[in-house]
């Protein structure tokens, strides 16, 4: 099994403006994703995140605290799943089940030698 972080990006503010039907479609898509993950592996964690305008960033040797995310862009990370799946194709198949309005990035989670013992 490999472990992947599935990062979800969408345009901020989208969620407040969607109607009830669309909300239900999004929920259905996430349930399909979770079912696919459960069938082929397991979900370690997952959550939706507050909009990027609620983010706080620490940067530089002075640990300067600033308002906003790492990078300002049209699409912002709005949620994630941490999953264990057999391979990238399974992860891609799962990610295809998420709402088509998302941009989804799949990142392998790596162990850091000398730090992780498990």
């Amino acid at each position: 099994m490999k472990r992947y972080l599935v990062l979800i990006a969408y345009e901020p503010g989208d969620w407040e403006h969607v109607d009830e039907d669309t909300r239900q479609e999004v929920f259905t898509a996430h349930r399909a994703f979770e079912a696919h993950v459960a069938e082929h592996g397991e979900k370690v964690a997952g959550a939706a995140l507050g909009d990027a305008d609620t983010a706080t960033t620490l940067r530089g040797p002075e640990r300067t605290v600033t308002d906003g995310p790492f990078v300002e862009s049209v699409e912002q990370v709005g949620g994630y799943y941490d999953v264990r799946l057999p391979d990238l194709d399974t992860a891609i198949a799962a990610a295809r089940l998420l709402p088509a309005s998302y941009t989804v990035e799949i990142r392998p989670v790596v162990g850091v030698e000398g730090y992780d013992e498990a």
């Binding site: 490999k2 057999p86 391979d87 990238l88 891609i92 392998p108």
Partner: protein, 338 residues
């Protein structure tokens, strides 16, 4: 999945028949060939990384030769191949045949990857072009290897016909002095007849396809076949070529297709009709030397030498390739001295 080391295949391609795939050490079954091709041509790899990996691991081409094909220094190519292998291991790209639903789209990526490698051999370079055209033959082998395990795949058959027809002209397109020889001026006896015949046989078994990529390859192959089958340039069936370009423009619209179609219209009708067909292309092909080169040629045929020279001057200014540039300069100087 753990980083599984991909086997290195050695392929013995017979230009007249199917490719024979030999395994090293000798126990690879056909499914393994398909797995390996699909792993190297995974859409999660960049197209240039994928084509290099496929040539290296599937066809067994040396890193030095792949570097020459893609016009990059050998260490750059070695790093590119290493990066590809690392991504396969780190991202968990599997050594498997995907589900039946996904296979057609994955095989389209294989076709695109092979075609990218093939066209690299014909990309203008400063090195000796003939040598690189021979390396493009390695991409033809990649298509054959994949076809050997998926013989009914229309996208691969259409691509095989297309690359065979383009490749069959390799010896005739460069003159003894290294200059570019355009299609109408090529010595047709130097075209590889066996490759043309094979491509025509493959094309005969292919009907129109609903898949856009397959149909685009098929139509381009049909156009190339019209050239290949004309006994002399004057015998070319431009009416059929124009019809194929019209169909191609619907399947895969692009300014380069429109430019090629305009040339065909000029040949079928007259230079004025060709010039009219160039209208509106300037905005879509900014910075391309090919548009003013075609315009200059058509103006010259209409007898408007002054406008032709101006267009050729622009083409010469924009052209980055030595061989093509030399050809344009020769054409302009011929007009200027009249």
């Amino acid at each position: 999945m753990a980083a599984r080391k991909a086997p290195l295949l050695v392929v013995d391609a017979d230009p007249e028949g199917g490719a024979g795939v030999m395994a090293d050490p000798g126990d690879l079954v056909e499914d393994d060939v398909l797995r390996l091709v699909l792993m190297c041509c995974h859409p999660a790899l960049g197209p240039e990384v994928a084509s290099a990996l496929a040539l290296r691991l599937v066809v067994g081409v040396s890193t030095a030769d792949i570097a020459r094909l893609f016009l990059v220094p050998e260490p750059t190519m070695a790093a590119r191949i290493t990066r590809g292998k690392k991504k396969i291991a780190a991202a968990g790209i599997p050594f498997t045949v995907p589900a039946a639903d996904d296979l057609p789209s994955r095989l389209r990526v294989v076709a695109q990857t092979a075609y990218l490698a093939f066209t690299a051999g014909y990309a203008p370079g400063s090195g000796p072009d003939l040598l690189r055209a021979d390396l493009a033959g390695e991409a033809v082998r990649l298509v054959r290897v994949t076809l050997a395990v998926r013989p009914d795949e229309a996208v691969l058959r259409a691509l095989l016909a297309l690359v065979l027809l383009q490749h069959s002209r390799r010896d005739a397109r460069v003159g003894a002095d290294g200059s570019l020889v355009l299609l109408p001026d090529q010595d047709r006896s130097r075209w590889h007849r066996g490759e043309v015949d094979e491509a025509v046989r493959v094309l005969a078994g292919l009907g129109p396809s609903a898949d856009l990529l397959t149909e685009s390859y098929r139509l381009q192959a049909l156009i190339a076949a019209e050239h290949a089958l004309a006994p002399a340039a004057a015998d070319t069936r431009w009416d059929r070529i124009c019809a194929a370009y019209d169909a191609l423009a619907r399947v895969s619209p692009s300014p380069m297709v429109r430019l090629a179609a305009a040339v065909a219209v000029a040949e079928r009708d007259d230079p004025a009709a060709g010039l009219a067909a160039l209208d509106g292309l300037d905005a879509e092909l900014p910075g391309s030397h090919r548009l003013p080169a075609v315009r200059g040629e058509l103006l010259a045929r209409l007898g408007d030498d002054r406008a032709a020279i101006a267009a050729l001057d622009e083409a010469i200014r924009l052209c980055g390739n030595e061989v093509e540039r030399a050809h344009l300069i020769e054409r302009r100087d011929g007009l200027a001295s009249d």
